[in-house]
Assembly symmetry: C2
Homo-oligomer: 413 residues x 2
DNA sequence: CATATTTGTTGTCTGTGGCAACATATAGTC
DNA sequence: GACTATATGTTGCCACAGACAACAAATATG
């Protein structure tokens, strides 16, 4: 009864040809995706954005409504002369569960199709959780969320953010050093447990995805993303509007970019790379703090200047600049987004960072790029994770089938 | 009368929606592109590959024929039972001119729509040509080729390979150090001269393009490409089936990947990068050769081992390995293609290269990748360049208009 | 209250691909 | 060599998505 992994509808097309059904699916998908990204749009705006005919939009929207994927709000006036247009919004009776697995906690959120968080559950774990523990915790939290949501809610699936290398085709966690996981069949086990399609991806890439679709990377086609988190420096890239994932899904881990030769012996980490040379703990050790979240750390460092702290920051900023300039040369992006701990480094010495970057980046590519620092909120990451199960739905709204909700309800009993 | 740059039909779509015409264009494009890539295909194969109906294929093919873009060869038998299928081939009465500008020569070739070279003209230049010189030489060679081709030939346009950074939107050569060009309006000037749509791109990227569409990178979705040429180390990447180009087109120059810190002062080159640390001349200097092409150099080095040569090779192989491993970690590709001088390095010590790569690449990504060395032939590069003008034709065969051929004929008079 | 403007709705039309039946051409078998 | 099985091209008809035009509805402006 269970299928191993949901067929990712509409992702890989069978044939190269296109027929009428494809057109319909494409247009439904386009509209629903627009609504999902923007939250709500009037029909007239949809007409403009898609350059489809008014009557076609009308038809498509009513199909989305009958599919229960969109609802119409009463007309909104005040937009100038003429008949006011009907507002269409994605239905928040369709949700996805987003999961973030961190070293010390597991969070699960219900995210509505409009891209907004509906509710959140978080459970702290004493240590990095084992795979089995994670499965149980996730199942419980989802079960709680589900009963809170009540009936009449349809669930697209579950998306999980893991700090490690994940094989995309089956959601196998190949290696997650900070969790001490190897070859963990998380997707499969979770799917057996909760009977929902489960997708897994690297957390940094999901952070980028959220940033790209809803945050400061909106509407950009080429983005480089670097994030400093408890589990080291990670990264991702948007290339030509699409995420860089590589053949199996290990690609785009830009924290692994090399900036110095490093020892040529394979250690546990990756010597000579950005991830190796920028360690949050190094700065933390230079303070008298034992543990601190990013805002606390930033405040402390600002209030307690010392030459040791200064040295650490300078060295890390320089390393970051070398990495970023190399990435700018490789990707010629519109933006470099720094998140988490790296945005702290940016806040501490943006000027030096900029200077150092311009020393070794191509001037033409440099002209195109904006360096953007964003604080990382765990909810951003969760929103990115929810995009995973929403993907198949958004790609083919007409043929997507929600998985058996009755057997789901049984879990919470 | 002249338009500045041909509108790249079908590249950037106006609206997100899709209607009937889009379907037709898409299917025509799909079929013509398949024919272009494969050289010739039977109708039945087209049916299978596109998963369109036989009758539809029949209709589409006859439209391509009436557009003069495809011809039908007599049926070919011997393929098992059943009525033999009609072979369809791209019409070689449609050609593109491909230009390669090198330090010491300019080559122009006529490439047929089937992707095969029809004829080639090469003119040596004493030094790196100035822009004006290049324009004149190219015009003359094209004019010669055109008169050889005779009447009844339609020309899709001109594609130029330049060793430097090229802005894609208008073909402005921003910087080509080895030619001593800055902000050279090559496309515009050439277009005024010969009244054909002119496209320009970085030569390494075009080498990759040829390799990806016709060579050892066929059917791969993620490829990393590095080429050693007279004008230093260049590179390119295919990400998710599409070329990595960045916002303005400077992206993908993988020769600029950093492998050591290098001096932090901006010199003329890019210290610490692959392009900086792998210099063909360094090996050449270690020999008694004054000048040599790649095969000659390889033979010499094999026949005259010396400790100095050995040192140079080892250092360069190690540098290459560091660069490649970093790229493997970033891109998780199916193949790393080494071309030109780099394929010599590979030939000289493939084992050490492999070993060194596996020291610093992620094991999971390493499992996916093949290291492939190809000799670089200038014709490969030209075939890549021809893809530029073929692009708009292949993307929208139904609406592509060939530019006024009468004024063209006037040139050769 | 009249007019201009914009948008939603409805019915009709166009054109593209699907489909089924038939025609055609080969290989294999007796 | 005739017959059968198989595969492909051809033809006429159909289904259906989106375009279009005419009309209705709802607002702003004077």
């Amino acid at each position: 009864m269970l299928e191993n992994i949901p067929s990712d509808v509409g992702r890989a097309e069978q044939g190269l040809g296109r027929n009428r059904d494809h057109v319909r699916q494409h247009n439904l998908s386009t509209i629903l995706t627009l609504l999902h990204r923007e939250g709500a749009l009037s029909r007239s705006v949809l007409t403009q954005r898609t350059s489809l005919n008014r009557s076609t939009i009308s038809d498509l929207v009513s199909e989305l409504e009958s599919l229960g994927l969109a609802t119409e709000a009463p007309t909104v006036s005040g937009g100038g002369a003429g008949r006011p247009s009907i507002l269409v919004r994605p239905s928040d009776s369709v949700v996805a569960f987003a999961v973030a697995i961190d070293i010390d906690a597991i969070s699960v959120a219900a995210i509505g199709l409009s891209g907004h968080k509906i509710s959140l559950k978080k459970r702290r774990t004493p240590d990095a959780p084992a795979v089995g523990t994670a499965v149980v915790v996730i199942r419980d939290l989802i079960s709680q969320l589900k009963s809170e949501l009540g009936a009449g809610i349809r669930i697209a699936g579950v998306g999980v953010a893991v700090p490690g290398q994940v094989r995309q085709e089956d959601g196998l966690v190949r290696q997650a050093d900070f969790l001490n996981w190897r070859e963990a069949h998380l997707a499969e086990r979770l799917e057996n447990e909760i009977n929902l399609p489960v997708f897994i991806d690297n957390d940094a890439r999901l952070g980028l995805r959220a940033e790209h679709e809803f945050g400061s990377g909106r509407d950009l086609t080429d983005v480089v993303y670097l994030i400093g988190r408890s589990a080291g420096v990670g990264g991702g890239a948007i290339v030509g509007g699409r995420p860089l994932s590589g053949t199996s899904g290990y690609g785009g881990d830009l924290g692994l970019i090399r900036i110095s030769e490093g020892p040529l012996i394979q250690l546990s980490g990756h010597p000579g790379t950005l991830a190796d040379l920028i360690q949050r703990d190094e700065l933390l050790d230079a303070t008298s703090l034992s543990d601190a979240d990013d805002p606390t750390l930033l405040d402390y460092v600002r209030d307690h200047p010392s030459s040791r702290i200064r040295r650490v920051i300078t060295a890390q900023v320089d390393a970051l600049a070398l990495g970023i300039s190399s990435l700018i040369n490789l990707f010629n992006p519109q933006a470099v987004i720094l998140a988490g701990y790296l945005s702290i480094l940016h806040a501490l010495d943006a000027e030096r960072l900029r200077e150092r970057i311009s020393l070794s980046a191509l001037s033409h590519s440099l002209d195109d790029v904006h360096i953007i620092a964003v604080p990382v909120s765990s909810s951003r990451l969760l929103i990115g994770a929810a995009e995973l199960p929403f993907g198949p739905l958004l790609n083919a709204p007409g043929v997507f089938t929600f998985r058996n909700p009755t057997s789901l309800r049984a879990i919470s009993d």
